[in-house]
């Protein structure tokens, strides 16, 4: 696999870098001023790989870093990388046609991170599943609400029925009492009339009583029915209650987690601002306690989530009429089956093993030190100067910590002696082949012990390094930075190649910082040699580490607001370079100037002075593909004032020259001045020697709008003004556009015929005018 693009969010000064693409030919340079955020890009990529972030990386706006990386598959069959039973079928189908994949690493409040697959088409499946889950959960919640409402009604109805039943019973009892009273009175009554009245009354009451008795029976029946219903629904209500409890527990755990996350952040902040050791110690204790608590709650939260989904599944099944036991067994099985299917995180974790290894080479840790305490090596103290370089050295030497436990001092010395020889030979080959240097450099190391001069460490062992060059035996830091850098770089390459055979991405922070120009060009040469076997991403602000003909390799990093170091970092790709600030682009500007200086352009005759380097680059490039009959030598002046100076120099050297200018105004005046100063006595010659195209504001206007967009701007946008006006209005850098143009026509082998009719006509007319001027 090969890294194609990355996107960084919430990482130090980077809020959202957008997608940035690495150069197809494996060398990508991040250019920008100090503090622009270049190193943050490398660190973010390294963090993506190893998952580690330090506290200073977090932004103050409580957002956590996210890094996305897209990899091109180079023949790997994705489906083969996983246990096929674990891949959901729709994803397996999507894997078949995949040519690239994206991984996302996201960090959480406790600095832990998860890596997951980030391809939209794959995530679509999970989103759909998630949506299904959400709608299922919604249905369950609605069902619960409905059930509770129903239960409420049923209970109310039952209570009402019960009351009605009681009322009916009371009434029945009342009439029964009445009946008995009349019966008693009847028994005592002797008078026939009274008896007759009482008998009538008895009959009436008896009728009412029978009626009330029937009513009571009906009410009793109704109550029994309602009671039965209540009993029936009560089992469902119990399940629903459990489900609601589970939902509430998850919500509480999430709230606790959020609260702890904020406390953690606060505690970290306090720890950072304390300088007093005691306060710092206390703050650290609190921080560690909070970390522990955060982990505990996170575990609880995951458990709650699991319980919640189990309860929801269970509730749904019970509501549908399944009995509790069977529903529980079925829900558990479903959850187990779901767990077997790979999640985006599972995919991410597995795929991480197959992506290239990211290595980070930065001066502090990766440059070979003079010495290092053995303790720091054995305790893996990564923040020790030169730690990584020494680790690399030990890997190459095949040494582990056991090696240094050899009690016999003589044997240990001998072993070290033998190793010193082997390592030196390897480096000499590399040094000669890659850097083209022949001096025999030897790398030695010794195991020494501190003496009384350093009482705090007295008696402790340390490793000491020497770089020997014929007679000289010097500490690494006493050697030139070039030798030290290349030697350390060699250690890095060699060590990583021993550790793993898979592809690598080497992230290099300011390679060869403070090396002299030639040594920096050597660094670039080494990168060119390595690009077949690894991808290199480095940051620099040196012009010697940028190839002007390969600006597609450049990503510019700068602050959104140039004057505010606290503003966010933005990354511009090679096509957007003209939008970058002058400071950011200074390596490229320096380089363009340096390239002009390398030209052997002043000849005996046919020298044509043009107004600036941009005009020079365009005309030079176009004349080469136009195939001018006569050889002409364009010479760039440094603006209007430079034209007169150049004319004076060439006249002084008795060299023949012509002047070709575009535009009017001040330029026209400058041409007039030269006419007066050099050709006053020969105005005819002046007409022949000086050509001013005053209707063409600048050389870019010789291109049709379509060609200007395609070959110079390399951007699709509607342009209704002249090309020169467009450049001015949009504050674009002419130098950068010219540089991009040259790279483009060289890389794509653009011929004169590739330009459209208008461009061809304009340049043909110009070059014909030049030819006739010379003739």
């Amino acid at each position: 696999m090969k890294l194609k693009a990355f996107r960084i969010r919430n990482f130090r000064s980077i809020v959202d870098s957008g997608w940035n693409y690495l150069a197809y030919d494996n060398i990508t340079a991040l250019i920008g001023q100090n503090e622009s955020g270049k190193t943050s890009v490398l660190e973010a990529l390294y963090s993506f790989y190893n998952g580690k972030i330090s506290d200073d990386i977090l932004r103050s706006d409580m957002t956590f870093p996210i890094v996305n990386c897209t990899f091109i598959l180079e023949g790997e069959k994705l489906a083969d990388l996983f246990n096929s039973a674990e891949i959901p079928e729709p994803i397996r189908e999507k894997f078949l046609g995949k040519e690239e994949l994206t991984l996302i690493r996201e960090w959480k409040a406790d600095r832990s991170s998860i890596i997951s697959i980030g391809d939209e088409d794959i995530l679509e499946y999970y989103l759909k599943k998630e949506e299904e889950k959400r709608s299922f959960e919604l249905v369950v919640q609605n069902e619960i609400t409905e059930l509770i409402n129903r239960a409420d009604t049923i209970i109310s109805e039952m209570q009402l029925a019960e009351q009605e039943q009681l009322d009916a019973r009371n009434e029945m009892n009342h009439w029964q009492l009445q009946l008995e009273n009349v019966k008693r009175t009847l028994k005592k009554a002797r008078n026939a009339d009274t008896r007759s009245n009482l008998e009538n009354e008895y009959d009436t009451i008896q009728k009412t009583y029978i009626q009330k008795e029937q009513q009571f029976a009906a009410k009793q029946k109704k109550f029994e029915e309602k009671k039965q219903l209540t009993q029936e629904i009560s089992e469902k209500v119990t399940v629903a209650k459990k489900c609601l409890d589970a939902i509430e527990n998850t919500r509480t755990a999430l709230n606790d987690l959020d609260y702890l996350g904020k406390q953690l952040k606060e505690a970290e902040h306090i720890y950072e601002i304390f300088t007093n050791e005691k306060e710092k110690k206390n703050a650290l204790q609190k921080l560690e306690k909070l970390h522990g608590e955060y982990h505990r709650i996170r575990k609880i939260y995951s458990e709650c989530q699991e319980k919640e989904i189990l309860q929801k599944l269970l509730t749904d099944k019970v509501f549908k009429g399944q009995n509790y036991k069977a529903a529980e067994a079925e829900a558990l099985t479903e959850i187990q089956n779901d767990k077997k299917i790979l999640s985006p995180e599972d995919f991410g974790t597995i795929l991480l093993k197959y992506i290239p290894v990211f290595d980070f080479f930065e001066d502090f840790s990766s440059l070979l030190p003079n010495k290092i305490d053995l303790e720091d090596i054995l305790l893996e103290n990564e923040h020790t100067e030169g730690f990584k370089a020494v680790k690399n050295f030990l890997v190459i030497a095949g040494l582990t910590s056991d090696f240094f436990r050899e009690k016999n001092h003589r044997i240990l010395k001998q072993k070290i002696e033998n190793l010193n020889g082997e390592i030196t030979i390897d480096f000499q080959d590399y040094w000669r082949q890659n850097v083209g240097k022949d001096n025999k450099i030897r790398l030695n190391f010794e195991l020494e012990h501190y003496d009384y001069t350093e009482p705090e460490k007295s008696g402790k062992p340390y490793l000491e390094f020497w770089i020997k060059d014929r007679q000289e035996r010097l500490y690494p830091k006493q050697r030139s930075r070039g030798v030290r850098w290349f030697l350390s770089f060699y250690l890095e390459l060699k060590a990583t190649s021993i550790q793993n055979s898979v592809k690598r991405i080497l992230l290099i922070d300011e390679p060869g910082l403070s090396l002299h120009a030639r040594a920096q060009e050597d660094v670039l040469k080494v990168f060119e040699d390595l690009k077949g076997s690894m991808q290199i991403v480095y940051c620099t602000h040196s012009p010697h580490l940028v190839d002007v003909n390969k600006l597609y390799r450049v990503l510019a990093v700068q602050r959104a607001d140039e004057n505010d170091e606290n503003s966010e970092s933005v990354i511009l790709d090679s096509k957007s370079l003209p939008e970058a600030s002058t400071d950011t682009l200074s390596p490229i500007y320096s380089l363009m100037g340096a390239k002009v200086n390398e030209q052997q352009f002043i000849q005996q005759k046919n020298n044509i002075i043009v107004q600036d380097t941009v005009t020079y680059f365009f005309l030079q490039a176009m004349s080469e593909i136009f195939n001018l009959n006569k050889s002409v030598h364009f010479i760039p002046a440094s603006g209007i004032n430079g034209i007169q100076t150049l004319a004076n120099i060439l006249t002084g050297w008795r060299l023949d020259f012509y002047i070709l200018l575009f535009g009017n105004g001040e330029l026209k005046k400058a041409a007039e001045d030269i006419r007066n100063s050099h050709f006053l006595s020969d105005p005819k010659s002046a007409d022949k020697k000086i050509k001013v195209f005053d209707d063409i504001a600048s050389v870019e206007n010789l291109f049709s709008t379509i060609d200007f967009k395609r070959y110079i701007l390399q951007k699709r946008v509607g342009i209704t003004e002249s090309n020169s006006d467009y450049i001015i209005t949009n504050e674009l850098s002419r130098t950068l556009l010219a540089s991009g143009f040259i790279s483009h026509i060289k890389e794509h082998n653009i011929s004169f015929e590739d330009f459209d009719e208008d461009t061809r006509r304009n340049f043909s007319e110009l070059f014909n005018a030049i030819q006739s001027m010379i003739e």
């Binding site: 699709r716 459209d756 208008d758």
Partner: protein
């Protein structure tokens, strides 16, 4: 008031409100159509520049996405027939943009050929709609056939953004196709529009049109009219006076359409070339 009566009253109020809004919207679009008509060349101007011509223009809605345009610059008569993305209001917006751009580009006079007018128009549309080839942006554009007829030299140029041009001379139909790219952003990077230079013979008839006629569903099987029958129809009527050709075309269209609704705006411009006219 009972709940039922109250509900009924609310429904009536809403119905009235919807009706009022619809009426206002229609009136507003109808007014916009007057503005759009005013932007189209007047029949007087058309007659003056191309004495023997017809314009068959029947928008599908009140306002149209098709438009025609004519002007004279020095000795050159420039005629354009265009079809904007969509019809109705969105199409009308685009047509206004197109007419304005045409006026601007031709008025500026920096064109060198029919193709270069289309090139400059495309730049203008891309700029106006901020089109840069990104996925999320509006992909609207204009299809157009444009021709320049130099009355001095009798040179005739045509360039097309999708829309073709038909010439009928000596009872033969010559079809000249435009480039397969719109005036506006396309998937492919911008290329120059091709300018076709043609020798017109006196008596030739030239037809520029949008796809409203050929794409109309109708006939016995409810199918599209298509290009070949359209060419046959033109060949059949090309000898008729221009105003009669318009009638024949309209009749053929309506007959084909039958009960099917009109699918798109309909626009055909035809003119006959007579040396003596210029």
């Amino acid at each position: 008031m009972s709940p039922e009566i109250e509900l009924q009253s609310t429904i009536n109020t809403l119905k009235y409100e919807i009706h009022r809004q619809r009426r206002e919207l229609t009136e507003s679009i109808r007014y916009a159509s007057y503005i759009q008509k005013a932007l189209l060349p007047s029949p007087v101007l058309f007659k003056k520049l191309l004495p023997d011509h017809f314009v068959l223009f029947q928008p599908k809605d009140i306002v149209s996405g098709d438009f025609y345009w004519i002007t004279k610059k020095k000795s050159e008569i420039i005629i354009a027939v265009a079809d904007c993305t969509g019809h109705g209001v969105p199409g009308a917006f685009m047509s206004i943009l197109g007419i304005t751009m045409l006026n601007e580009v031709v008025g500026r006079g920096s064109f060198t050929s029919a193709g270069s007018i289309l090139n400059q128009l495309r730049e203008g549309i891309m700029k106006a709609l901020s089109q840069t080839g990104e996925e999320y942006e509006q992909k609207d554009g204009i299809d157009m056939a444009i021709c320049i007829f130099d009355t001095k030299s009798n040179n005739f140029q045509y360039a097309g953004a999708f829309n073709p041009m038909y010439i009928i001379q000596n009872n033969k139909l010559i079809e000249i196709n435009g480039d397969k790219m719109p005036i506006g952003i396309a998937a492919e990077e911008e290329k120059s529009f091709t300018t076709h230079r043609i020798k017109l013979e006196p008596g030739s008839t030239v037809y520029l049109f949008s796809d409203g006629f050929v794409d109309q569903f109708g006939g016995p099987n409810g199918k599209k009219f298509k290009y070949q029958p359209f060419r046959n129809l033109l060949l059949k009527i090309s000898e008729l006076p221009m105003h009669r050709q318009k009638e024949e075309l309209f009749y053929a269209f309506e007959k084909w359409r039958g009960n099917y609704p009109q699918l798109d705006d309909l626009l055909i411009v035809g003119f006959r070339y007579h040396v003596e006219n210029y």
